[in-house]
């Protein structure tokens, strides 16, 4: 159990300021149905989208926490080493543990960097088949092997005797259903559910196979890596997204969770103000590939003997960060970077001629509003995996620009705006919360959970303000880490003492 003491005052300040910001700024944003179109553009990306991301993140974390608390397998330390974390000494002194976990984290980081650069190169040289094959293999491994293991451990924990025939049918259906929904076409809700389940599975594998202190070190390192890879001009993820942008194409089909909100745009009459009413929400996943791909790759290498996530860790980390970067970049670079799956829109039938409609003053809106709206829509994708990113961006922009024109004819048009979040973000959030819960303390778990959600709010806020791709990990994970250590070191003993003395505050 990590015992580093964290200065509390700093975290409290951060926390309070973080808390106050969403509260101050979110209420105005909840008014999504205001009649003024200009206001609407500003408000479209607001509390509703944040909530749309809260639900899957919460679900994923809940699954991981529930599993950690009921199935002891995932909290047991294995004697065999994880390939990328060779230093594992349980009896070492604190100093040794610190440098060993730092070394482990460094090794994992190098693996992630290598995989990301590899992905970048593959993408740059248009080896799409290899990438797609890699992603499919990853998801196959994830959906079949990990779920098989998970089922086995859950059954063992609950002592349920089940026969091979039933198990085979279950795992086979689950796996093929996942493949079809993620890589081909399937109902949105099912796609989202599969993405959540896969993220939870990978998070569980990480928790199990990374040594105790190494997990925290890796989380800390991922914060820095995320910042660097997405925001620096030469960051691999940023370059990946820029390449996708320049080619104007969807990047990777999966690895992104996107939740789309469907807006029905009705034009009152020609030249009138457009009124946006949110009719329906649709969650859309771009789950073509999970971050798991990294894990899946491991299945094809000999390292598998060492543990399931032998190679997958780096792969998934790489894929994850790659995707995140891609998503972020796509968002930032292209205005309409909503990562909707390709079959959602027909990009090709959005000709540029539609754009010309706007200057003609089809509606009472100014072109700048459209751009703002488009920008907003695209901003929503925090981490658009390249998958549908660029293409969607185009279609989204054209869609938005097309709205005024079409609305004149039809009176109603549907538009989609949504938020995208990379699967890697899900995974690391869940790793943090799962690890916190495996220490057995509910206060700490809840503190981590809340801090991650607040970090997510802040990140989305920043996204709305800065209007470019942003990494989702840094703020949330740093809040989570700070609160995890602060709570377990300071709040928990305090609560215990209060309970002992029967003092209730």
């Amino acid at each position: 159990m990590p015992s580093e003491a964290i200065v509390n005052e700093g975290s409290v300040e951060v926390n309070s300021s973080a808390r106050s910001r969403p509260q101050v700024q979110n209420p105005p944003r909840t008014n999504n149905t205001s009649a003024s179109s200009g206001e609407d553009e500003e408000l479209m990306y607001g509390a509703k989208h944040v909530i749309m991301l809260f639900v899957p993140v919460t679900l994923c974390m809940m699954v991981v926490v529930a599993t950690m608390n009921s199935v002891s397998y995932y909290s047991l330390e294995e004697s065999s080493n994880f390939v990328y974390a060779p230093f594992q000494d349980k009896t070492a002194s604190t100093g040794t543990k610190v440098w060993q976990s730092a070394a482990n984290a460094g090794i994992i980081m190098c693996a992630v960097i290598v995989m990301t650069v590899l992905l970048l190169l593959l993408y740059k040289y248009r080896c799409y088949k290899i990438i797609n094959g890699w992603l499919v293999c990853s998801s196959v491994m994830m959906l079949f092997f990990f779920s098989y293991m998970y089922l086995q451990q859950v059954l063992r924990a609950y002592n349920v005797p089940l026969d091979y025939i039933t198990v085979t049918i279950l795992v086979w259906n689950f796996g093929i259903g996942g493949l079809v929904c993620i890589h081909w076409k399937g109902p949105l809700l099912l796609q989202q559910a599969y993405l959540i389940m896969i993220s939870a599975l990978v998070a569980l594998i990480f928790i199990k196979w990374l040594p105790d202190w190494t997990t925290w070190a890796v989380l800390g390192v991922m914060v820095i890596w995320d910042l660097v890879a997405v925001l620096c001009p030469k960051g691999p993820l940023r370059m990946l997204v820029e390449t996708a942008q320049s080619r104007n194409e969807a990047i990777f089909p999966a690895l992104i969770y996107s939740s789309a909100m469907v807006w029905i745009v009705t034009m009152a009459d020609d030249g009138g103000h457009s009124k946006k009413n949110k009719k329906r929400k649709e969650g859309e996943f771009d789950n073509d590939v999970e971050e798991e791909d990294d894990d899946d790759d491991g299945g094809f290498k000999e390292h598998l003997a060492n543990g399931v996530s032998g190679n997958s860790l780096e792969d998934s980390a790489a894929a994850r960060s790659a995707f995140r970067a891609l998503g972020d970049m796509t968002q930032g670079v292209q205005q309409t970077n909503l990562a909707f799956s390709e079959n959602y829109w027909d990009v090709e039938d959005e000709p540029t001629s539609q754009r010309q409609v706007i200057p003609e003053g089809a509606t009472g809106r100014e072109p700048t509003e459209e751009d703002n709206a488009a920008a907003k829509t695209s901003k929503k994708k925090k981490r658009a995996k390249p998958a549908g990113g660029a293409r969607q961006t185009q279609s989204e922009r054209q869609r938005r620009t097309a709205v005024p024109a079409a609305s004149e004819d039809d009176g109603e048009l549907e538009e989609e705006k949504g938020i995208k979040l990379g699967l890697g973000d899900f995974i690391f959030y869940s790793v943090l919360v799962g690890k916190a819960s495996s220490n057995g303390d509910w206060n700490t778990t809840l503190a981590c959970f809340v801090s991650i959600l607040i970090g997510l709010c802040c990140t989305l806020l920043l996204l709305a303000i800065m209007r470019k791709a942003l990494p989702a990990l840094p703020i949330s994970l740093s809040f989570g880490l700070v609160f995890n250590f602060a709570t377990s070191a300071l709040v928990q003993p305090f609560m215990d003492k209060l309970n002992n003395e029967q003092v209730y505050i």
Binding site: Q152, I176, G186, P187, W345
Partner: protein, 101 residues
Amino acid sequence: MDLRRVNNTEKLAMCRKYFFAGFFVLPFLWVVNSVWFFKEAFRKPHYTEQADIRSYVIRSMIGAVIWLAIIITWVIFYQTKRVEWGSFGDSLLFIIPYGSA
């Protein structure tokens, strides 16, 4: 994906593919097919391909129900008779439960 944005021929193709894929011991795909296309087949106003989609949905539903019956029967049968079957019953076990039978 959103079915509202897909044109009818594609919907029919998807429905058909889900239906045929379900024959590979994949009742889950049949369930998904019948639930997903239910509205298309029964609640939408008539269009050309709807008759075909309806037939596929109905067949998927029937197939899913049959599979459900088979699986439930087998599970009940196995759970109750496992102890009687002795070593054969044990060899089919995925995990060996602890405790006495």
